[in-house]
Symmetry: C2
Subunit: 250 residues, 2 copies
DNA sequence: CGCAGTTTTGATGGACCTCAAAGACCGTGG
DNA sequence: CCACGGTCTTTGAGGTCCATCAAAACTGCG
């Protein structure tokens, strides 16, 4: 089921120069532990739009996203789709102790992942506590995020949902670049209107309308379809419905 | 903020005779590891309706639910509430490595929890891999559950939501009693209509109406307000919108 | 240019929310 | 015993937000 294994393009195989070295599942490893990981790792790349895993597939590897973006989603028989996670650089794919993928994983941009065959990875986890500890941390963080998203899906209006999505994407962008989100931030939307709709539990038309409404209200400025300028982050936050303490973030 | 510490009522302090021994965070511990856990554990009880933790509270302990049910939920400034999890016997409360509670925890029935002070528990985790391994497993399972619930919240109709909730509660009941859900199952709803609404992202009126509709359709039979009989589990499953392979469960 | 994919905008309808009132259940006290 | 209040639940009437259906505008590309 795995397709599109392009030629290896990532510029270095050395863990030491890996861009996600300090945030990924391997971030707590000592040099000797890294060496052992390095022995079993390999890179894979996928083109935008291509599937990485289908729900139900046997997973013969776990992986870290090195660059690019993927979505984690679920589809019902009649086609209704719900995105359940956005996989950004340093995020982890797969889980030790389970053989089959619970959700679809699709590359939405060109994607590079750092793979470990599952069996060796599981064995290494047994002898390397720092991997398990880091994975537990990451999983707990993801669980909190998933639960926060449940509030968005269950209780927020369409407008609040859009504002929440923009705020989250802006924050992730900011933390990636070690900034605090303030005024004048810009954001390149990695998702189509349809993908946003699938993330927010809306239709693509409603997404489009609400983005237009936020634009008309001056809360965001659009340059083209995908490039968003946020004149005042606090005003955007006010539209999310969340209480906001003014600049601090988790 | 923690209130209602009733007198100790749990019938035995021995881990060996603990009803959740085989499913909780301690389920993989060896006898000597259990001994050390036993040294730092203590029980707490809460009456139905009482808060265990408020979001933002400092958490001085982590805990396992021994008996009773609690909810994990989030409330917006204007009062909109979303339940993000249901805590049943053997479920874990709190997380190592974080000081403040991210969500409200409220006892919905009389509740007994087995507490460990956070610091000693974290230290013990460092020296006892079986605890961390088990906690990782449990957290990964909860993450999958949370993501499955996102589909319910984002994409399902009110009727499908109610059916999904009934199916999940029935299954948990069944697995607790080591059965497979089949025909003629009964279920005591642990939640009020309002709590169900908060779980499903609906209003309590809509919950009530959809339950009446399922009753009228013969998919469920009510005895009183809280006792539900499910004549045919497969027919209930068909109402959830999920594909169902006929009797097998995860 | 012409075509396919994406996005915007409009018109309409329906699922669910809101507001309102009455019924069911339960414990308390007269 | 029944009246009484409180909580939970049901049911009804009307309104609204968002989905659905439809078509046009925009974008990139062979």
């Amino acid at each position: 089921m795995n397709t599109a294994i392009k030629d290896f393009t990532f510029n270095s195989r050395e863990c030491g120069s890996c861009p996600i070295r300090h945030r990924a599942v391997c971030s707590k490893c000592e040099p000797d532990e890294l060496d052992r990981l390095e022995e079993i790792k390999y890179y894979r790349t996928y083109e935008a739009g291509q599937p990485v895993l289908w729900a139900g597939d046997q997973m013969e590897f776990v992986a870290s996203v090195v660059s690019g973006i993927a979505t984690l989603s679920q589809t019902m028989e009649d086609g209704r789709t719900q995105m359940v996670g956005l996989l950004l650089p340093s995020d982890f794919i797969g889980r030790p102790g389970r053989d089959f993928a619970p959700f679809d994983v699709v590359a939405v941009s060109d994607l590079t992942v750092c793979c470990f065959r599952k069996k060796p990875f599981e064995e290494l986890m047994g002898s390397t506590p720092s991997i398990g500890t880091r994975l537990l941390q990451m999983t707990l963080d993801e669980l909190d995020s998933a639960r926060e998203w449940m509030l968005v899906l269950g209780r927020k209006t369409a407008r609040e949902k859009i504002a929440s999505l923009l705020a989250i994407l802006t924050r992730r962008d900011a933390t990636l670049n070690q900034l605090t989100p303030t005024s004048g931030m810009t954001l390149d939307l990695p998702l189509t209107r349809e993908a946003m709709a699938d993330y927010l539990g809306l239709t693509l038309e409603t997404v489009s309308r609400q983005i237009s409404a936020l634009k008309k209200a001056g809360i965001i400025v659009l340059e083209g379809k995908r490039h968003v300028i946020i004149p005042d982050f606090a005003i955007l936050m006010a539209e999310t419905g969340d209480d906001y303490d003014g600049g601090l973030l988790a």
